[in-house]
Symmetry: none
């Protein structure tokens, strides 16, 4: 079963307003077992809307149209649908009554233009709008289903949940159970992950896809099965297979962020962390403290942008800075040890690097970053060479710094 979501409204094509209804609809449809194959956004233009609807009827089974059913001139969804399904518009008494009552209840003057909202194609089923005035409607057309809903998100959502969800579930759901899990990874390139799990990515079931973000690659597993248990089992089997290949590269599932994982590990082990940052200049500390309750494990941070700050705040020696330069494994190590000892915490984390765009040399190019972690067992350092602009280098550096703590705690 494949669906298309058609969002209507010229404002959605203007560059100033994002279409968000389809996000909700695609997710809901997916969980019923209906694949959203296309999303189309079309303006308040009769010809373009006709074209879009005809096209959708050719290529999918279920069409959900949002918007264009208000009381004004440019609300032409009703007219277009009526024309395409060849059913004339008729005033629905039930709808008219509800609209008028709604105005009366609010003590608002009734404008006759609102009558227009009660027009629906003959033979279609009315969908009441419990939160607004414009009702929707539903048409069964030669095994195709066309649902028309308002564009206002909360009205659309309520109507979908009240009417369409049960109807679609009864008609198309239940036979197929769909589960989704996202495995979140850090520290491996998309191309390398692709290579490591290539045969899993090629399988038809479950569908496994990659999406690269600044902070790492997400692996999305989507399973369709004949029962909930079967779906769950297949998800778990696939997750285990991927984890066996990628090991610690997977740091969590679904919406979990790396700072939450690190925070939970620190809390669980009752350890405290302090942070010294040069090129990331607060980003790592900002992320650690994104989590409510982080004061339990985060004590302080030093942002040491200048050499003098590294010397005064962390006790890094001037000689070391002169010999190796501020961007070096040696200075990263001294920074981690310096903040750990100043803050008297179990762990001291540091980042120093060249975020760019300036400051790079042949030997030390933009993107070169060192992270270090000091603990009671000594100090470890990592060298990284990140691609991307200043912001990307900093985000990636913050991610690898947090990941260093994670790997230390689970290792």
């Amino acid at each position: 079963m494949r669906a298309e979501i058609i969002a209507t409204g010229s404002e959605l094509l203007s560059g100033s307003m994002l279409e968000t209804n389809s996000l909700f609809l695609a997710e809901e449809l997916m969980l019923i077992g209906i694949e959203t194959a296309f999303k189309t956004v079309v303006g308040d233009n009769e010809k373009d809307m006709e074209e879009s609807l005809r096209r959708a009827l050719d290529r999918v089974d279920i069409i959900i149209i949002t918007g264009g059913i208000g009381p004004t001139e440019d609300d032409m969804t009703r007219k277009v649908v009526s024309k395409i399904v060849k059913k004339r518009l008729a005033l629905n008494e039930d709808a008219l009554k509800t609209i008028r009552e709604r105005f009366a209840a609010r003590g608002r003057e009734y404008v006759n233009a609102n009558d227009r909202q009660a027009l629906i194609p003959v033979g279609s089923r009315l969908i009441h709008n419990s939160l607004g005035t414009a009702p929707g409607f539903l048409i069964d057309q030669e095994a195709r289903l066309i649902a028309v809903l308002p564009g206002v998100p909360r009205e659309m959502k309520a109507m979908f949940i009240e009417v369409l969800h049960p109807l679609l579930t009864e008609r198309f759901g239940g036979r197929i159970f769909i589960k989704r899990r996202i495995l979140r990874t850090c520290g491996m390139f998309e191309s390398a992950i692709n290579q490591a799990i290539e045969n899993i990515l090629k399988r038809e079931q479950p569908i496994v896809g990659l999406s690269a973000k600044e902070t790492g690659v997400d692996i999305r597993i989507t399973v369709r099965a004949m029962s909930d248990e079967q779906a769950q089992a297949l998800i778990e089997k696939t997750e285990a297979e991927i984890r066996a290949r990628l090991g610690d590269t997977v740091y969590g599932v679904d919406e979990l962020e790396l700072e939450e994982v690190v925070g939970a590990l620190l809390k669980q082990r009752r350890l405290k962390l302090s942070i010294a940052e040069s090129c990331t200049a607060g980003l790592v500390s900002r992320r650690i403290t994104n989590i409510a309750g982080s004061s339990q494990y985060f004590e302080r941070g030093a942002i040491v942008y200048s050499d003098l700050a590294k010397i005064e705040m962390l006790g890094v020696s001037r000689k070391l800075l002169e010999r190796h330069g501020a961007v070096s494994a040696e200075v990263a190590a001294a920074m981690a040890q310096g903040i750990r000892s100043a803050a008297q915490t179990d762990l001291g984390l540091s980042v120093t690097g060249i975020a760019g765009p300036d400051g790079g040399t042949e030997k030390k190019p933009v993107g070169l970053v060192y992270t270090a972690l000091a603990s009671s067992q000594g100090v470890k350092t990592d060298e990284h060479r990140f691609l991307g602009g200043r912001e990307q280098v900093r985000i990636r550096a913050s991610q690898m710094a947090l990941d260093m703590v994670r790997r230390h705690l689970i290792g």
Copy 2:
């Protein structure tokens, strides 16, 4: 001239990821005078992508495709475009060289799968990707223009601006002159701005609209005119009118961020800043250092999450903390003075507050934040009461802290 934007990627149909590239593209096209008639989102499915592209070729003049040109199996945009325009894919030596150089420059191991990104249809024009590895390309097909760009927003934007914008402007622009300017404000509520410029908002020309963000309200002025000069004059007249009503509340125009304004002012006056943060825990410093070259005016920062850190790093007295609490105007002032004196900078900025969700009391609720600025003229403090969750409180606090520096420097 009508355009269609086709965004590819199954993740954009999954209900978990919003397609945002088309917002930028529709805006840019609009300013050139090109109408975006359709937006289509299609998954990584060869047949569906073919269908969408064929359809677009039937109904518009300009097609911009984003995404699906990475190195992995499910990146199939190249293949589909090649098939539809009937031009075979060939390895572009220029593109290949750039991709390999990019990897080499950062000392990273090359994975052969990356070669695939250098494949473009014969006869198409290469669009270099200055920020990533996947190049784009451009095809002129029977008076239709097809541009293929990566899905990564910053790469896509840079490539549009560098290559497509001048090309489309030369070819299609210039008949109607459209100008847009955004006035960025900070420290005034949307309803108050609405009241202050109500009559300007009601005018038909220029179109003036408000959009509220976490960090302040943007005022968007859009003008259509018969000449560039006329458009420019009307923009400037409206901007002057709005500025006369709102004064210093307007901190900049268009994409300018508050940290850029503050950075430019510090640089111009040759002043240095240091920062002490409690509840924002690195966010203010992170923002100040978003700007390349910020080491000229930013010296260091102290993230003083615990009381002990406030005492040890900033010399805040234990008595003061006990008497007034860490979240107080008195402690904010001592923090600002403490970091200024430790870092020996012209200005010392501090933030302390309750970001929530826990830690609030009746007297000191979640959202209560103090900012302070120490200079040679003494120390000033501001009290804020922000609405919103933890993240909103922190973002708003960082904005008001930066704004305190701005107002000090211009005042």
